[in-house]
């Protein structure tokens, strides 16, 4: 039945894009956690350094987002990842 097949293809297509997201997540995390704080003014060059409470908010917000994203991706991909990982390795 063509409708059924279309549905399945959409699903596996979606799964692959979720896998892409899964693979990209650590890079996004690195960008937000490493690159951004590394560029904050720290008082060395005379600029007013950023407040610690702000930094705290930022780091922990990113953390919470990363955990939430990781959890959501796990919910979407569990049980299917092994079967699909080999095929979508490219």
């Amino acid at each position: 039945m063509p409708e059924g097949r279309l549905f399945l293809e959409r699903r596996s297509y979606r799964l692959r894009r979720i896998m892409d997201a899964l693979r990209m997540l650590p890079f996004l995390g690195a960008l937000l956690w490493i690159v951004v704080p590394a560029m904050w003014p720290n008082g060395d060059d005379g600029a007013v350094p950023i407040a610690l409470s702000t930094a705290l908010w930022y780091v922990f917000s990113v953390w919470l987002l990363a955990i939430t994203a990781s959890f959501a991706l796990w919910r979407k991909t569990r049980d299917r990842i092994d079967a699909d990982a080999a095929r979508s390795a490219d």
Binding site: P37, N42, L52, A66, I67, A86, A89
Partner: protein
């Protein structure tokens, strides 16, 4: 007030509880129960929390009090690695399971051709790197005990009490690790007792830190917003971490999560199910976040409340104590105690596995006179080696603690330790992602990284004039300014951690890469490299490696019994014998079986040792020549495969061409048969018609002269003869084809046979042809049937006379000798036979269109049958001068000739 005795009592109860939990878990696992808990992702995630040691429990607060938010890097790196589990950890866990890896040293050594040198290097580096860390845990426990002691005793007794505490804690940890860490030899099986105890401790330390945090935020500060205000007015109100240091610390802690032996132990070796890793990918960062959530508030409140000079590393304890919260302080103490003990237990377990597998066992094997083949139980040796290693490592940690005098901030020692184990990273990642990585490259990279780490990180960490003299700090090694330990190559101004991490890791990677590129791996390395890098392609693929003889099974059995235990070894052998379809007999040591056995042994004693032990027994080449050929180069494999394909397709094309040729021939034959049938009916009908007509005339016409009667009767006669000849030919052919002909072989002279044939042929033919012969060449004696041979020659000469279309027909009969054979060629000067007819002229009923209806197309078919019977061959060769029939005859002695003539 918490008395010291109460503290010790609570500690003892807590430890006893841990022993009980571990014991119950072991027993449940032994009885096959409680799997839902023991093998749950929750326990897996909690066991990962040994990443959070006393350093993070106490030290993070101290770190935050000194450097603000910098402490959080230690948690961010691992969080990133866990969130990115798909890239590295998934691969490590799969490899660990597929190769039955027992430790990080085992993983690296197995990857690089099961090299024991590498295993020893990694083990030594791990011991050197982790020993300070173990000392750090003991130090944190004694520090925390001394806090309680100082409340009670005079200041003189504190040191004494602390030292005692360190000793008893070390002894207790050694006992626990020996009890629950060496119960089963197979390091690849989970240490359920240890894991469950570690999980319980993970909960305790998290609850303790959260409790102190909640007390500080809501109990002391009055809420979240007030706490943030306090932060903004504190000593650490602003961000002052350099970008380089921030990045270096995150990278360092990320590397440490992968490389630390204890993390490898819980993450890879103790992993039960790869799906647990997926769950840990969000659960473990959550745990880390919870652990670090209240660190800054506690630090800020501690800085505010505690008198100057108080050790900020102990704010977690001293802040509740100063507020009279003894219960909370006790909980915090237990949290720190848990962090310290769980780390020491697992780290010691991991290190002792490495030490016994890679240093003690190989030495024992080498020193033992008969090696692996002597009788007695090796298991005792392995277990004793492991227990000894545990004691040795904890003693080393204790001695280091005593020697260093508990100096230095906790965080600094932790970072030094991270820097040491991070040196494994290039060899580890290179090994699992890059097939070009070689053993020599790994050795080079590790050595360079280790030396730089020693010189720029470990030795300077003791301070000037301790391990390195102040002169070396100021002027470099041997006075060379470029070799200053904190300013290599004259680059000053870098943060010491950034400096050390940058130079050690970058030069490590560079040497690893360059040496790998210029060296060539051994076959075993290449095999392992392929298995590691392509682990998802063939993690359950066919095993290769050993070529064993049947006689080795007994010896293998004896050795396995001593390592695996008699029952397990027998079960293993029986299972494999059954797989091979053998009942009541030992399994044949096929390469697959030996490989499986090696993996099984490797789980107990490590890859390099297992390889060496099997090597002692099999004694042979670890890899067969075919394997070598197969892995010599994938390109060779691909080439081989494509050339096979090519050959096959060529064969197919060839077959197809032959088929179409055969088909063409068949079609032609069928056409000829049809033609012949119509021909033969015509041939039969023509004489039949004239016979009928003339016989009717003779019967019905009365007035016939006698001359006419004679003429008609002779026509009837000659037509009857023609019919007879036709039928004779058919009969002759049929007899020849059915092999019913009897040959009358004797010694004959070829010239005589040709003479006879030429005479007969010329006599029966009206056309004239010039015949050229070389009589001297014809003077050859043959052992054959001269009548049959003459029949063939007559046919050939007659054909030439009949069909040679030259105006002045000439037939050359040439005789030549070729080795044992004699070739008689009948060459005419006509236009020859058209190419499309050449393939069928020897077939029955074949007639060339131009024939005058003289023959029925049976002559050449008969010729071929006769010559075949005579053991020769006849073929048609188109020459420029005309057609040529070549008859190849055997010229041998009568005896051999008689044999070669086919039986009648």
């Amino acid at each position: 007030m918490v008395t010291l005795n109460l503290l010790i009592g609570v500690c003892l109860v807590y430890v006893a509880g841990l022993f009980l939990v571990a014991f119950l878990a072991e027993r449940a696992a032994l009885r096959g129960r409680g799997g839902w808990l023991l093998r749950s992702p929750l326990v897996y995630t909690l066991s990962l929390s040994i990443y959070c040691t006393a350093w993070t429990f106490y030290g993070a607060v101290g770190y935050a009090a000194r450097s603000g938010l910098e402490y959080v890097t230690i948690y961010l790196g691992p969080s990133l690695v866990m969130i990115g589990w798909w890239w590295v950890l998934r691969r490590l866990v799969r490899i660990g399971r597929a190769q039955r890896v027992t430790s990080v040293a085992d993983l690296i050594s197995a990857r690089y051709g099961k090299s024991n040198l590498l295993a020893v290097m990694v083990t030594i580096m791990a011991v050197v790197g982790v020993t300070p860390y173990i000392a750090l845990q003991l130090q944190s426990v004694t520090l925390s005990v001394s806090i309680f002691a100082s409340h009670e005793a005079g200041s003189g007794q504190e040191a004494q009490i602390a030292d005692n505490a360190a000793f008893w804690v070390a002894a207790g940890l050694a006992l626990f690790t020996v009890l629950f860490g060496t119960r089963n030899l197979n390091a690849n099986e989970r240490h359920h007792g240890v894991v469950i105890a570690v999980a319980v401790e993970a909960v305790v330390k998290l609850v303790a830190l959260l409790a102190v945090g909640v007390f500080v935020v809501w109990g002391l500060s009055g809420g979240v917003s007030q706490t943030l205000e306090r932060i903004d007015t504190s000593q650490i109100a602003t961000w002052h971490t350099g970008g380089g240091r921030w990045t270096a610390l995150i990278i360092l802690s990320a590397a440490a999560l992968v490389c630390l032996p204890r993390m490898f132990q819980v993450m890879v070796v103790e992993n039960d199910d790869e799906r647990h890793l997926q769950i840990a990918s969000w659960a473990f960062p959550l745990y880390l976040m919870a652990m670090s959530l209240f660190v800054v508030p506690i630090a800020v409140v501690g800085l505010e409340l505690m008198p100057a000079g108080t050790n900020p590393d102990l704010y977690v304890l001293t802040v509740p104590l100063s507020q009279g919260q003894n219960g909370l302080a006790m909980l915090a103490f237990l949290g720190g105690f848990s962090s310290a003990t769980s780390m020491v237990i697992v780290a010691t377990l991991a290190l002792s596995t490495m030490m016994s597998n890679h240093i003690v066992m190989p030495l024992w094997l080498k020193l033992g006179e008969t090696g692996a083949q002597q009788s007695g139980d090796v298991r005792d040796v392995v277990i004793r080696a492991r227990r000894l290693s545990i004691l040795l490592i904890i003693s080393l940690g204790y001695l280091y603690y005593r020697a260093s005098g508990g100096s230095g901030a906790l965080a600094a020692i932790g970072l030094v330790s991270f820097g040491g184990v991070a040196q494994f990273l290039p060899a580890l990642l290179g090994g699992i992602f890059w097939r070009g990585a070689t053993r020599i490259g790994a050795v080079a990279g590790l050595s360079v990284g280790f030396v730089i780490w020693l010189y720029t990180m470990l030795l300077p960490s003791f301070g000037p004039d301790a391990a390195l003299s102040a002169a070396v700090f100021d002027h470099g090694l041997l006075g060379v300014g470029l070799l200053r330990p904190e300013a290599l190559f004259g680059i000053t101004g870098l943060d010491p951690v950034v400096h050390a991490v940058w130079w050690s890791l970058s030069l490590n990677t560079l040497f690893f890469f360059v040496v790998s590129i210029f060296s060539f791996p051994t076959p075993l390395e290449r095999l392992q490299g392929a298995q590691y890098v392509n682990v998802f392609d063939h993690s359950s693929g066919p095993a290769r490696g050993w070529s064993a003889s049947e006689g080795g099974a007994e010896d293998l059995m004896i050795m396995s019994q001593r390592i695996l235990g008699a029952t397990e070894a027998q079960a293993f052998f029986v299972a494999h014998a059954l797989q091979q379809g053998r009942v009541g007999a030992p399994p044949v040591p096929t390469p697959e079986f030996v490989q499986a056995l090696e993996r099984e042994l490797a789980a107990s004693v490590g890859a390099a040792t297992a390889n060496a032990m099997i090597g002692q027994i099999i004694g042979g080449q670890a890899i067969s020549v075919e394997d070598l050929m197969a892995v010599a180069d994938e390109s060779a494999q691909i080439l081989e495969y494509s050339s096979q394909l090519e050959t096959k397709s060529r064969q197919l094309t060839e077959t197809a061409r032959e088929l179409s040729r055969a088909n063409e021939k068949l079609t032609q034959l069928s056409l000829q048969k049809d033609n012949f049938l119509s021909q033969i009916s015509h041939e039969l009908r023509t004489p039949m018609t004239s016979i009928r007509s003339f016989s009717e005339i003779l019967r019905d016409v009365d007035e016939l002269r006698s001359a006419e009667k004679t003429r008609y009767a002779s026509i009837i006669h000659s037509e009857a003869i023609r019919l007879t000849r036709l039928l004779d030919d058919l009969l002759d052919l049929s007899v020849l084809e059915n092999g019913e002909v009897s040959l009358n072989a004797r010694q004959v002279n070829l010239r005589v046979v040709i003479d006879q044939a030429v005479t007969t042929a010329q006599a029966s033919s009206s056309r004239q042809i010039e015949i050229k012969r070389k009589l001297r060449a014809e003077e050859v004696d043959l052992f054959t049937d001269s009548d049959r041979l003459a029949q063939v020659f007559i046919n050939l000469v007659t054909n030439a006379i009949k069909y040679c279309d030259a105006s002045n027909p000439v037939l050359t009969i040439a005789v030549r000798q070729q080795e044992e054979d004699l070739i008689v060629a009948f060459i005419d000067n006509g236009s020859g036979i058209p190419p499309d007819a050449q393939s069928v002229i020897f077939e029955k009923f074949a007639r060339l269109g131009r024939g005058e209806g003289e023959g029925a197309g049976l002559g050449l078919a008969i010729c071929r049958e006769i010559i075949t019977r005579l053991g020769g061959e006849i073929r048609y060769v188109q020459k420029e001068s005309g057609g040529s029939f070549e008859v190849r005859l055997v010229r041998t002695t009568p005896q051999v000739g008689a044999q070669r003539l086919l039986p009648a």
